[in-house]
């Protein structure tokens, strides 16, 4: 209310205006991230993001003029963060890129052609890497990423449970795989032979499709080929696990995978290298001699194909620090750094030479991966792959739950995939 002492409104007014001005000024000036300057920005995801920062001091020691700022982003958010950053013009100088995402970013024209850099390098050659993995970094023969760590899926199994039903060695073909599951089921009707996390992972059924040599997409990757004969065969085989109750249909029953594996609730699991460390840590000591890894069984015997996964290091096309980024890429690709990174994260080195080191050579679980990496193949290199893979997982899960027959489910999947690829069809074929 108005009253005596009315000079206060004016003071208050000036005070308020000053505060506002300060706020506005602060807002405008203290705006963006630590952007340019002589700092190289590097985005890494998940576990890698947490640990790679520990390797940086050594790099900065060797390269006194360069400073690196590592930003860690959870995997769930990584995809949208990258795309948002691209749209917002705030991509970092370099980042970790899952190799199945490379096609997307080449479409966006966001990453640098590393061919010329590789040609000038004194330490890196394509032969340093597994061919299947190297291939995932090539789009139309142009190189866009340097593999950082590699990933694939192999068979983790309870060697004691398999031996008890007559399999001293892990199954080497699909027939043997079905057979060992049948035997396990007869021995323990309330347990399962294998666990597939169909509510979560798209890899196992897609891998079986790849093993049957399904192209997954057809007509220059503009249409789905999931109803093609190869993928139908693969899905029928995959579905056998569920119709025979060799794998649990209700995947959410298994709240703790490690506990279930330890209890023998299931004897086999298709998963990746990170679980070597996890299993070693979380399984009871009494169990450490009773599980093992093996390369995947193929449809007709021999080692089956698996996915060529992992992450690469890519360089932003618009970076102002390309020289420094390349130096960091070369640094992180050194066998010694690759091994150190392996020790920190359990992620397997992309660099073949690193595998000779005792740390890995003596890791009996890693041996299966080393073999498998010679038998890996890329998934279709289209930007829409991530979306397609999720759809495939959804429909195949419904097939395992008998909500669709194999034929119906895959036909429905193809219809959706065709819709997803509509734009690509127009671009590639003018439809």
């Amino acid at each position: 209310m108005q009253g005596p002492g009315d000079e206060t409104p004016r003071v208050r007014r000036r005070g308020a205006v000053t505060v506002l001005a300060v706020l506005l000024a602060a807002a405008v000036h203290s705006c963006g991230p630590r952007g340019s300057g002589d700092v190289v920005t590097f985005w890494a995801f998940g576990v890698e993001g947490e640990h790679v920062a520990k390797l940086i001091p050594e790099f900065e020691r060797r390269n006194p003029g360069i400073r690196v700022h590592v930003q860690m982003i959870p995997w769930n958010a990584a995809h949208e963060k990258l795309l948002t950053a691209f749209a917002g013009g705030s991509l970092p100088d370099m980042w970790q890129l899952g190799n199945t995402w490379i096609p997307e970013f080449t479409t966006l024209n966001a990453i640098e052609d590393l061919g010329p850099w590789l040609a000038r390098s004194r330490t890196l050659r394509p032969s340093c890497y597994f061919p299947g993995i190297w291939d995932t970094n090539l789009m139309d023969s142009v190189l866009f990423g340097i593999p950082w760590y590699v990933d694939t899926r192999v068979l983790f199994y309870r060697s004691d449970l398999l031996a008890a039903v007559g399999y001293a060695a892990p199954p080497k073909s699909w027939d043997e795989w079905f057979d060992v599951c049948a035997r396990l089921k007869r021995a323990h009707p309330d347990r399962y032979g294998v666990f597939f996390s169909t509510n979560n992972e798209w890899a196992p059924p897609v891998i079986m499709g790849l093993q049957e040599h399904s192209p997954l997409l057809k007509e220059r990757n503009t249409r789905g080929d999931f109803s093609g004969p190869e993928f139908v065969r693969a899905t029928q085989a995959f579905d056998r696990f569920f119709t025979n109750a060799w794998a649990p249909v209700k995947t959410t029953q298994i709240v703790n995978v490690f506990q279930a594996f330890a209890e023998g609730y299931f004897a086999m699991y298709i998963t990746g290298p990170w679980n070597i460390g996890e299993f070693s840590r979380r399984l009871p000591d009494s169990l450490q001699d009773r599980w093992m890894t093996a390369p995947l069984p193929g449809p007709d015997g021999g080692i089956g194909l698996s996915t060529a996964g992992g992450s690469s290091l890519v360089m932003f096309r618009g970076s102002h620090h390309k020289e420094e980024v390349w130096k960091l890429i070369e640094f992180l690709s050194e066998p010694a750094e690759q091994l150190e990174f392996y020790r920190l994260t359990g992620n397997l080195p992309a660099r073949r030479e690193a595998w000779g080191d005792s740390a890995l050579a003596s890791n009996r679980y890693a041996a299966a991966f080393f073999t498998q990496f010679e038998h890996v193949v890329a998934t279709p290199k289209v930007p829409e792959w991530e979306q397609i893979a999720q759809k495939a997982r959804e429909y195949i899960e419904l097939i395992t739950m008998d909500q669709y027959t194999v034929g119906e489910g895959l036909a429905a999947l193809d219809r959706e995939v065709d819709i997803i690829l509509a734009k690509r069809r127009w671009l590639v074929r003018g439809e």
Binding site: N76, H79, L83, A87, L108, Q253, V255, P383, K423
Partner: protein, 291 residues
């Protein structure tokens, strides 16, 4: 007070902000919904095409859209009335004149409203943990088996509904209290003189007099519930098996994860259409039932 210039100056900042940062994007979203702007167009603008109603048609044919719609309506139809009932109940319980500590109770019931949704979702995610969560523990004490709340397709949405009711009932309770306080005491006295018991007074005086308040609450609750996003994002990521996929979550997925921006914009307008229809419907009901 015909000083038009002054009025203009007073209005200018707000109208400018609203015009540029609200109405303009709404218009732009409308236009966007008729294009196939996507990741290809993001890399090269020439790859965006005008596609007319194609996005809308595609939405109608997309099973995921119908799933999201179903989930959102499930959330609305089950959660809305439940939330309103609990709010009304709490407001009524706080009515009696003899009651002490009213302020304290009111504060307790209102506390969840001001908490950050993300923080709440994180806590409740653990409350719902199949093994270590409090809820399953309480159920086990009552001799019932545990439920995998967030992992079971049948229970995931009820779990989210329960959390949403917990979070919001305090807000509507306050509005009900205001509405109840506005009912003139004479009406109750008159009804008592006519021989009406307490329950009959409730039916013949309280409920009708509360009708406009209830409709108001119904509308704001509905608008809020249509925009379900943070809970699925933090707790279930739309799963299990897309049973907690809401319209806004689908919009976010399509727009910011897969970068199908034209498609996402069409979805946004369908959301708007539903909210508009719902609001008009409720307003009509208010007119029909007096006041």
């Amino acid at each position: 007070m015909a000083n038009r210039r002054a009025a203009f100056l007073f209005l200018a900042p707000a109208l400018l902000a609203i015009g540029v940062f609200f109405f303009l994007p709404v218009l732009a979203a409308f236009v966007l919904s008729f294009t196939d702007f996507d990741i290809y167009a993001l890399g090269n603008f020439a790859y965006a095409r005008f596609v007319g109603l194609h996005n809308y048609a595609q939405l109608l044919g997309d099973p995921l859209f119908w799933q999201a719609l179903k989930n959102t309506f499930y959330f609305l139809v089950a959660g809305g009335p439940l939330s309103i009932a609990v709010s009304l109940g709490a407001a009524l319980m706080l009515q009696p004149k003899f009651l002490r500590f009213k302020q304290l109770f009111r504060t307790a019931y209102f506390a969840p409203v001001v908490t950050t949704l993300v923080a709440v979702a994180v806590v409740w995610r653990f409350v719902y943990h199949p093994r270590f969560g409090i809820l399953n523990y309480l159920l086990s004490l009552a001799g019932l088996g545990g439920i995998d709340w967030l992992g079971d397709p049948h229970w995931a949405m009820p779990a989210i509904i329960l959390m949403a009711v917990w979070k919001n009932f305090g807000y509507n309770m306050i509005i009900f209290i205001a509405g109840l306080q506005a009912i003139p005491g004479e009406l109750y006295e008159a009804a008592a003189i006519d021989g009406a018991g307490r329950f009959q007074q409730f039916r013949s005086v309280t409920l009708p007099m509360l009708a406009p308040t209830t409709v108001f609450i119904g509308i704001i609750t509905m608008i809020g519930y249509f925009q379900l996003f943070a809970e699925p994002y933090v707790m279930t990521q739309g799963g299990p098996r897309n049973t907690t996929l809401s319209i806004v979550y689908l919009m976010y997925q399509q727009g910011f994860r897969w970068w199908n921006m034209g498609y996402s914009a069409a979805l946004a307008f369908i959301l708007f259409a539903f909210i508009l229809a719902g609001s008009v419907l409720q307003a009509r009901m208010q007119k029909r039932w007096g006041v």
